[in-house]
């Protein structure tokens, strides 16, 4: 190697060493400046919306990086439970508003006034506060409205000789429609009875026919026994659905999501009782069936004159809160504030197919869809969503009891007994 070559090799060596040192230093600086928070969620609104949400948040907060741990909705409680039991894991968690949040509040910190102020533009945030009372401790902020509607497939209704523009509004009419749909070898109501779906998606729509808002508050407090005639009426009406052959025969062993919604999305069912936003909404069904073939309606009224029969079982979708064990509560709180903000509301509306709670969201962002327009009319008259006021024990007993009733192995009377035991065994209600 001559002198020139030696000089060049020394220069290259120095350059490489310098570059390596700068890289190390910049990595160290990056590591010191960026806080990574982990967010446990079930991705309401879908992956596209969540990717945009994280990107928007990280752009606004370049010093915070978000890591998502996404779990299917019907497995959420089972994954979250061990985190709360061991008091370790994510910095931010998603939770259904209502009793589910109240029961698990040990996993969350009480949000400060500063964080709660980020929810000032929300049309409602009471479901994140203990006992549905804003004067109590609040553990989470919501971002969207959630609740139940029944979707219908106009093509199936037409094929069954029904008027697709006038779907059934009463229980009797619904029964007649089911007979017509069954006659063309289609399922009338796509139903899955496993997991939390019976409690969250079906039960509230039947319950509205028999309960007042005071009754619903009594359920939250644990003061409404399942032996009450009103509660017995609800279970009796639920039992009728499989007993009269309105639902698919395998309903007891499948889940609403994805199994039963697949039946509806594949065009094999006339109706499906799901939700207004998140995974199985008007957008997903519209994509599968064609927007022009999809309609949304209230569940048919069993007792049309009941005070809540024409209401919408609505709830602040889910709420996001800061975990009590988080070592990065400030960064986690920033995420919770962002969730409630208008920027996220706009994303939810335009990308997530959701109904935002933030009043500042631009209404022009709502996509064009007949089913969505129908939903926006239905949600105008909301009532308390009774499903999210059931305890874990009640949710489980409701689903298992319904399965056994559908299979003819349990009477409604015994189901009532089991529900009462579940209520008495519910820690949050005793």
């Amino acid at each position: 190697m001559n002198t020139k070559q030696k000089w060049i090799s020394r220069r290259i060596g120095a350059f490489v060493t310098g570059a390596a040192v700068s890289l190390l230093l910049s990595s160290a600086t990056f590591a010191a400046d960026v806080t990574t928070i982990k967010v446990l969620n079930w991705q309401p609104g879908g992956p596209k919306y969540w990717a945009a949400l994280v990107e928007a948040f990280e752009t606004k907060h370049p010093d915070i990086k978000v890591e998502l741990e996404t779990v299917p909705f019907d497995r959420y409680a089972e994954v979250q439970g061990p985190y709360i039991a061991t008091r370790s894991g994510p910095d931010v968690m998603e939770q259904n508003a209502g009793l589910e949040l109240f029961d698990r509040r040990m996993g969350y910190i009480e949000l400060s006034d500063d964080v709660l102020a980020a929810g000032d533009d929300l049309l409602g945030r009471v479901g994140g506060c203990l006992g549905y009372d804003l004067s109590n401790a609040c553990y989470g902020l919501p971002f969207g409205l959630q609740g139940n509607v029944m979707y219908y497939n106009k093509q199936v209704l037409s094929a069954a000789g029904l008027d697709p523009e006038n779907p059934p509004t009463t229980w009797e009419d619904f029964g007649a429609a089911c007979d017509a749909i069954n006659a063309i070898d289609k399922t009338c109501l796509a139903l899955g009875m496993t997991g939390p779906f019976p409690a969250y998606w079906s039960f509230p729509e039947i319950a509205r026919n028999f309960l007042t808002e005071d009754d619903i508050r009594a359920i939250l407090a644990g003061d409404m026994p399942w032996t009450d005639p009103k509660m017995v009426s609800i279970l009796t009406a639920m039992a009728e659905i499989p007993q009269k052959g309105w639902s698919n025969s395998n309903a007891p062993s499948i889940s609403m999501l994805p199994d039963a919604t697949d039946i509806f999305a594949s065009g094999n069912a006339g109706f499906a009782g799901t939700i207004i936003a998140d995974a199985v909404n008007w957008a997903a069904f519209g994509e599968a069936l064609g927007d022009e073939n999809l309609g949304a309606m209230r569940w048919p009224a069993i007792v049309p004159e009941a005070p809540l029969a024409k209401s919408f079982s609505g709830v602040e979708s889910s709420v996001f809160g800061v975990t009590s064990w988080s070592e990065k509560p400030e960064a986690a709180a920033e995420f919770v504030k962002f969730i409630a903000g208008v920027e996220n509301g706009n994303l939810l509306t335009s990308l997530g197919g959701g109904i935002p709670l933030n009043s500042k969201v631009d209404p022009a962002l709502f996509p064009k869809s007949e089913a969505l327009s129908q939903i926006r009319e239905i949600i105008a008259k909301p009532t308390i969503h009774v499903g999210v006021l059931l305890s874990g024990q009640e949710v489980d007993a409701l689903a298992r009891g319904w399965q056994e009733v559908a299979l003819g192995r349990l009477t409604v009377e015994d189901w009532v007994g089991r529900m009462q035991v579940a209520l008495e065994d519910s820690p949050g209600k005793n």
Binding site: E78, G81, M106, T194, S253, S391, Q393, A399, L407
Partner: protein
């Protein structure tokens, strides 16, 4: 009068005694990690669970002492009774779990045509994660799934049922899937036992006119008795635990409580119902249940082993 042992001890030289002590220390040193691990990860958690089972837990709040209340509660809970009844039903399939792998192992050991390929094929299901197996079979066993399509295609419409929807068929299907998933391990266990037997012995038995069943009952079973015992214990203690991921992925204990097994009940009681004390009490009941039934087989194995050594 001095005992001969004392004389022996006296006659031991200091150098030898030192070397013996060093040996004891070395043994203790080598055994210590295993003991520490066993105490830390087996004994301590077990004691904690026992303690937790005497605690009253309200959600995830600090527990308080409850005495035997959780045990009284579980015996009043019909779901607890059902889960153990289901466990008992699963145990009734134990002979299949024990003998099916044995028969297959002997067929493979006899160098049946294609035995190398079959050996791999039989072991393959064991290598698939049980949750994946569960998800897979949820599709296969669906009313319009491939199994029913095959049955209908073969003219066996009567057998094309809603496997996971029927109260009895669901537990049967679940047990069959668990067997499919784990019997490869049994085949491998028996093959390991058979590897100590010379092929010539088999040939000799065949020349003497022994057919397959005679080979099985007069030759394989007596020779493999300890291995059969070992696999039986493993199945008895493992069956219920192995089935947890399948219950989780396929049925969630339903329809109703048709496939509810004790371990899944522990899981939902603890993490869905937030009742850790009751969950721990069910866990202890399961532990005792498995320990009691395994003890019979282990004692039998121990007796057999002693008989052989004498």
């Amino acid at each position: 009068m001095e005992s001969p042992h004392m004389n022996l001890r006296r006659s031991e030289s200091p150098k030898r005694r030192g070397s013996r002590q060093a040996g004891i220390w070395l043994i203790a040193l080598l055994v210590a990690p295993a003991i520490i691990l066993a105490v830390t990860f087996k004994l301590v958690p077990l004691v904690r669970v026992v303690w937790m089972s005497f605690q009253k837990t309200q959600g995830f709040y600090e527990p308080s002492f409850a005495g035997l209340a959780n045990y009284e509660a579980i015996f009043r809970d019909p779901m607890f009774i059902t889960s153990f009844r289901n466990a008992f039903m699963v145990f009734l399939s134990l002979p299949v779990w024990v003998f099916l792998p044995l028969i297959i192992a002997i067929l493979l050991f006899q160098r049946t045509p294609g035995w190398k390929a079959f050996r791999a094929i039989y072991f393959l299901p064991y290598m698939i994660a049980p949750v994946v197996v569960g998800i897979m079979f949820r599709q296969i066993l669906a009313p319009d799934g491939p199994l029913n399509a095959m049955l209908i295609g073969s003219g066996l419409e009567g057998f094309a049922i809603e496997w996971l929807n029927g109260p009895n068929s669901a537990l049967f299907a679940l047990t069959a899937v668990a067997l499919w998933s784990f019997f490869g391990l049994g085949v491998l266990t028996y093959l390991a036992g058979l590897s100590t037997v010379s092929q010539e012995v088999i040939e000799a038995a065949r020349l003497d006119g022994a057919g397959f069943w005679r080979l099985l009952f007069n030759f394989a079973l007596p020779l493999l008795k300890p291995v059969v015992g070992y696999w039986t214990v493993l199945c008895m203690s493992g069956m219920l635990i192995w089935m947890f991921p399948l219950v989780y992925a396929m049925t969630r204990g339903g329809p109703g409580s048709a496939t509810m097994l004790p371990e899944y009940l522990v899981f939902i009681t603890t993490f869905e119902f937030l009742n850790r004390g009751k969950g721990a009490a069910i866990g202890i009941a399961l532990f005792i249940f498995v320990a009691v039934i395994s003890t019979f087989v282990v004692r039998q194995m121990y007796r057999d082993g002693r008989g052989k050594s004498q």
